[in-house]
């Protein structure tokens, strides 16, 4: 039997008014320990869905429950102790890291915002969890975007809730830091059976990290599933493919698609073969089984010329990938 969900939505319709419905008939569950990625093109209502699930915006119809309780029955404070939300935030006032993180404990503070020793320990723990345990006195406006995002995440974690709802937490931060962030979130969720829902445009990160992916499509329909199933069933392709890009079914990655370019045949195997294909696609060539232009790729860099280029009967040895593209562009331009 599945554990009971931390958050569940039934027959949810979201949007600004019945005439401006963004999505309908959403039925979703967030299970303990899970991290869910919410994907979709711009404007399909990812942010609206997160705000609705957070109880900050009323659904047009349907119900949302936190555990066994429907959110309409919960006070603003009770909600603040069950779920924490991270919106794209621009800080205007100069603030120290610890003060900023301490704002996450406001639901537990007295009328003046005074917090207890226990709250201070929670702040210590969440700073440690995101790997900035000794940043207490740093000024937030002097941090890089990635560091700022970590501190904001610490503030969100400090709220001590069962679930986190994060709106595009990976925007503006570099690739290693995204991985790091995903790792922190995964650890946070697994440790105590908590759950995370985050919206992002980062398909690669979602494929590598998500326990489940929820996809909102324009027109208001939605799909959910584990990353691999969505890739195999072609759902990812349907949502994200465009004339310029296609989803590679083998890897679930978005790749450029070129149509109408000249064809080349590539023979060989191993990593050098794969990278050669990538370079050729990037340069505007189409890979074809039987082209008059044939490129052979050696399996290693040993030997002077790992590549050879044959056009008709003429064959030429080539030393580097860059040279290959240059020569090809001269004799067989894309």
């Amino acid at each position: 039997m599945l554990p009971s969900p931390l958050l569940s939505a039934r027959n949810l319709a979201i949007g600004f008014s019945p005439k401006q419905t963004l999505a309908r008939d959403l039925s979703l569950d967030l299970l303990p320990g899970e991290i869910i990625f919410l994907l979709g093109r711009n404007g399909v209502g990812k942010s609206t869905l997160l705000r609705t699930l957070a109880g900050l915006r009323a659904p047009l119809s349907g119900t949302i429950s936190y555990g066994s309780q429907e959110i309409e029955s919960l006070s603003a404070k009770a909600k603040a102790k069950y779920r924490a939300v991270l919106f794209p935030t621009q800080l205007k006032s100069p603030t120290r890291v610890r003060e900023l993180v301490s704002l996450g404990r406001l639901p537990y503070a007295d009328w003046s915002g005074q917090i207890s020793r226990h709250d201070q320990e929670e702040i210590d723990r969440s700073l440690l969890a995101v790997g900035c345990g000794d940043w207490n006195d740093r000024w937030v406006d002097q941090l890089s975007d990635g560091e700022k995002q970590r501190v904001l995440l610490a503030k969100t974690i400090a709220q001590g809730t069962s679930i986190l709802l994060l709106d595009e937490p990976t925007a503006f931060i570099d690739l290693p830091q995204r991985m790091e962030l995903a790792k922190v979130l995964k650890r946070w969720a697994r440790q105590a059976g908590r759950g995370v829902i985050l919206s992002t445009h980062d398909l690669d990160l979602a494929m590598a990290t998500a326990d489940q992916i929820w996809i909102l499509e324009s027109g208001g329909s939605w799909t959910s599933g584990i990353p691999e199933e969505l890739a195999m069933s072609g759902t990812l392709g349907r949502v994200f493919e465009s004339p310029e890009a296609t989803i590679d079914r083998a890897t679930g990655r978005l790749i450029w698609c070129q149509t109408g370019g000249p064809t080349v045949t590539v023979i060989g195997h191993g990593p050098w073969h794969d990278w050669t294909i990538r370079a050729l696609i990037r340069a505007g060539y189409q890979i074809h089984d039987r082209s008059e232009v044939v490129i052979r790729v050696g399996s290693s860099l040993e030997g002077a010329s790992p590549w050879s280029l044959s056009i008709g009967l003429q064959t030429e040895d080539i030393r580097s990938l860059a040279e290959l593209l240059r020569v090809l562009n001269q004799k067989h331009p894309a």
């Binding site: 006070s75 603040a80 939300v85 991270l86 003060e99 201070q120």
Partner: protein, 348 residues
Amino acid sequence: MSQRLRRDASSFMLLLLSAMLLALVAISLTAGSVTIPLRDLWSILQGTPSSDPVFQTIVWEVRLPRMLVALLAGAALSAAGLAMQTLFRNPLAGPYVLGVDAGASLGVALVTLSVGAGKESFLATVGLWSGMGRLLAATIGAAGALGVVMLVAARVGSDLTILIVGLLMSYFVSGLIGFLIYQAEPESSQRYLLWTFGSFDNIPWPSLFLLAGAVLVGISLIFLLVKGMDALLLGEESAESLGIAVRSTRWGLVVGSSLLAAAVTATCGPIGFIGVAVPHLSRWVMRSSIHRILMPATILLGAMVALIADLIARGSAGNTPMPINVVTSLFGAPLLLVLVLNRREARW
């Protein structure tokens, strides 16, 4: 620094500021064209009959009311400025962003510049009634502006809209005032102009009590909302997600600051600069953006800055003190500039 140490440092700083304010109060009462010894001051304040009657008159009728007005006005404008800067997340916001000063100015302009300059007209009669008439007109004008702001705040959902409404109201009103000045006689224009310079002088005790009451209510209202103001540092949506009732917090801050600005403007004229500058000074002194700490510091610093400005105004030119707004701008602006340029570690 450990959290314990930090809390102690904040408390110590607040204590220090209080002591400095007390010293300024004493200086303000004793120093001037006639120096009153501290010992005499104490007995005068206690109402001992044996003290010098001239000293008694100076303290009770001139210096004490002026000192209290300056202290209240400085504290009120600074607290209102802090509330507005936090609410609108804008370092340039101040107590007058919502146009309360414009309302008060219009009231005063109407009585001092009285249309048509018919000497027998009711408005002119009120105008000739000098201080009290001006006070009444400013209060009605400020209350009118406050009413408009509250009406808007109750209807619209966005802080920015409130800000824009306040700004537009100010423009509109200054247009009206410009028209009145254009029509008025030179003497009455000058009287109006003098009012806009701001003054802590010649405030009768009843209006001082009124000011004190309004300041107490306004500051208490804002003080009750310090937690909500902390949350607003993250933006409205995040504040709401932290369980803060954003709508009522906004309502309270708008009403509280407008009340403070209205009371001060009606009593002393539009006092510029203090309300915008002191919150920054306070953040710099306390090195914090938590309002539980900032609010008391801002109130203390606001009172101190107003007292210092008053001392400079009086000390500079013998019997005719400089207008307060001249002092705050001439001395305050360069000081704040130095502060902002040197403040590497914390900038807006």
